[in-house]
């Protein structure tokens, strides 16, 4: 070769044992990555191959009949229930979550109270979702506030789960807003609350949207917090004050029913749920791409 020798050519060739170890270990790491993707491929494959055949016009437009034999009906009430319950949960969790994040970033620097709150948010992240469900059952269901089981009680349980996700991601995004921006506004005599509402929040908005949507996607797939708060498999009500059906709980109920038509409905519902979650996740990612900070 006429070109100058590369570093590799200048060095003595690697002893065989070292080269083999390197190749084997690289191969193992690649293999690990492939193994990690196998379940994803399998889950998606089964969702489509078993879920598509259960999907039809009736699947989306009729309510579950509750019949064990014959036509099991569709999942209209479950889809509506999921959307309503998660919407109310978001209305609770997102404003409070962002509010807490604002406190932590704008007013809580260096205060020990903020340290405690930050720690508690961490604690909330780790609480198993079924335990939140239990808590809401004790506080809202057994106390018979507005009846026993109700859609909105499920929303509250989901909100508890979503709140720390919103706050943690919100804190990260708000911290990225440049301090100079705040300082210049304050120097011009703008009051603190106006700086926060008119300058900090709009700057961080795309990031906050991403974090909130990821929390929504997380809440949407949860079953456990709904089981003992709002759940009614086969329920047909669209009223948040009553027992409500939801997609995850519907799937959970259908799995335990030894009937092919109902199991088909479970697969089709699962595909529907995954597609809704994927769409929300996708929108969240697109919002993140538009972000001015981050």
């Amino acid at each position: 070769m006429s070109t100058p020798a590369s570093a590799a050519q200048l060095l003595a060739p690697l002893p065989g044992r070292r080269r083999r170890t390197d190749q084997v270990m690289r191969g193992l790491l690649a293999l690990g990555t492939i193994i990690a993707l196998v379940p994803l491929v399998l889950v998606i494959y089964y969702l489509f191959s078993r879920g598509l055949k259960g999907m039809s016009w009736d699947f989306f437009t009729t309510d579950p009949t509750g019949n064990f034999l014959g036509d099991p009906g569709g999942v209209k009430s479950a889809i509506l229930g999921t959307l309503e319950i998660v919407a109310v949960a978001s209305l609770i969790a997102i404003p409070i979550g962002i509010g807490v994040a604002l406190y932590l970033v704008e007013f809580g620097r260096g205060s020990s109270f903020a340290q405690v709150v930050r720690y508690l948010i961490d604690v909330m992240t780790g609480v198993p979702s079924i335990v939140f469900g239990l808590f809401i059952y004790i506080v809202l269901v057994t106390s018979k506030i507005g009846g026993t089981f109700a859609g909105w009680k499920g929303s509250v349980a989901l909100a508890l789960l979503m709140l720390p996700v919103v706050t943690r991601s919100g804190e990260v995004v708000l911290n990225l807003v440049p301090t100079q921006l705040r300082e210049s506004a304050l120097a011009l005599g703008v009051p603190r609350w106006k700086v926060t509402m008119k300058i900090v929040l709009p700057t961080a908005l795309p990031g906050l949207v991403t974090g909130s949507l990821l929390a929504v996607a997380r809440g949407m797939g949860e079953t456990a917090p709904l089981l003992y708060t709002s759940a009614a498999v086969m329920g047909t009500s669209a009223n948040l004050g009553e027992r409500m059906n939801s997609l995850p709980v519907q799937i959970f109920g259908d799995i335990s029913t030894p009937n092919d038509a109902i199991v088909d409905r479970a697969w089709a519902s699962a595909l529907t749920l995954v597609l809704i979650i994927l769409i929300i996740t996708l929108i969240a990612r697109l919002a993140a791409r538009r972000s001015r900070v981050a």
């Binding site: 044992r17 509010g99 807490v100 239990l134 009051p191 079953t223």
Partner: protein, 344 residues
């Protein structure tokens, strides 16, 4: 500063006097409102803890705290509530999840950050994170109708082949078992363990890696002597966060673990977990103070367990991510590489 502004306002700055009383009060009000919101979190969690303890009290008093946690018999109809089968099941399934999930997750993180071609990195990251977008009930559905029937045969052969091994070999292989639950949990914790490991690995100073490579280390040797020692603590933290997830996971596990009331004989026999028993029995127990109390007590044990695991995990991850600024000198020396070369 505020005092200064007020003084200026009262003397020679008419613009400050121009602000109405309401406008001057807006700032403290805003601050106060946000503080109350943050205080809400504190009140909520105190409330949460107190209520759980209060409602668990009847069952804990009936059974005794020690006996509740460590006796191997759960029989609600006879009012016997020993939650050891569930606690053991939680620990067994989570351990399986960690043993299978963590090596795969760390391998994925290392492959994506250090070995994969640059244009594959972001697609691979997105694919691994997609695993987290699948709801647990869907994993449960897949477990029940795909994993359980497909793996029953292989599980039986393995159990027969290693008959001599306690807790693995044996003839009591059932479709729903600890192993299937652990396998599903391994898949479910993979994205979070991998994501945090990636973050931790990305804090390894490039100088360390370059130093290793410049001294003639191969890629793997660079990973072994520059990356792994540096990020060991952080990766342990990531694994523990995964463990916290695995311990609290409910719906996927309840569908594939069966509902045994004693600890199973082997990894391929039916079991139960703390979260699963709550989901399974709470419906029928709701009107029975003792039974529902026992389930809430199980929730309390679960809560304390996750609290401890997550606490240690956060501590390790935070320490690992701060380390970047604290560790000054690269640890790799020419001797390290020389040892590699001479193979001693």
């Amino acid at each position: 500063m505020e005092a200064g502004a007020a003084r200026l306002g009262s003397t020679d700055r008419p613009s400050f006097e121009g602000r109405s009383a309401a406008a001057r009060r807006a700032d403290p009000l805003f601050r106060w409102a946000l503080t109350v919101l943050a205080g809400l979190v504190l009140v909520l969690l105190v409330f949460f803890f107190v209520f759980l303890i209060k409602k668990a009290q009847p069952a804990l008093a009936h059974q005794g705290v020690f006996s509740f946690v460590f006796s191997n018999d759960w029989n609600p109809s006879k009012e016997i509530f020993g939650a050891w089968p569930m606690l053991a099941g939680t620990l067994i399934t989570s351990a399986i999840a960690i043993v299978i999930g963590v090596p795969v997750a760390v391998a994925t993180a290392l492959f994506i950050t250090e070995l994969a071609p640059a244009r594959l990195r972001s697609p691979l990251t997105i694919l691994v994170e997609l695993l987290a977008a699948v709801p647990s009930v869907v994993y449960g559905l897949w477990g029940v109708f795909v994993l359980i029937p497909k793996l029953l045969g292989p599980e039986k052969s393995v159990a027969d082949a290693v008959d001599f091994l306690p807790f693995v070999g044996g003839s009591a292989v059932s479709g729903r078992n600890y192993f299937i639950a652990g396998l599903l949990l391994a898949i479910m914790i993979l994205p979070i363990v991998s994501a945090i490991s990636r973050e931790v690995i990305s804090t390894v100073p490039p100088e360390h890696k370059e130093a290793a490579l410049a001294l003639g280390a191969t890629r793997w040797e660079m990973i072994r002597i520059a990356i792994l020692p540096y990020s060991r603590v952080g990766i342990t933290g990531a694994a523990l966060l995964g463990l916290g997830r695995a311990v609290g996971e409910t719906i996927a596990v309840v569908l594939v673990i069966g509902s045994a009331s004693v600890v199973g004989d082997q990894v391929f026999s039916q079991g139960n977990t703390l979260a699963a028993v709550i989901a399974n029995e709470f419906g029928e127990a709701a009107n029975d103070k003792l039974h529902s109390g026992a389930l809430i007590a199980a929730g309390l044990v679960l809560f304390i367990l996750t609290l401890a695991i997550n606490g240690v995990a956060r501590f390790l991850v935070v320490r690992a991510e701060r380390k970047q600024t604290r560790v000054p000198a690269p640890k790799i020396t020419a001797e390290d590489v020389a040892t590699e070369v001479t193979g001693s």
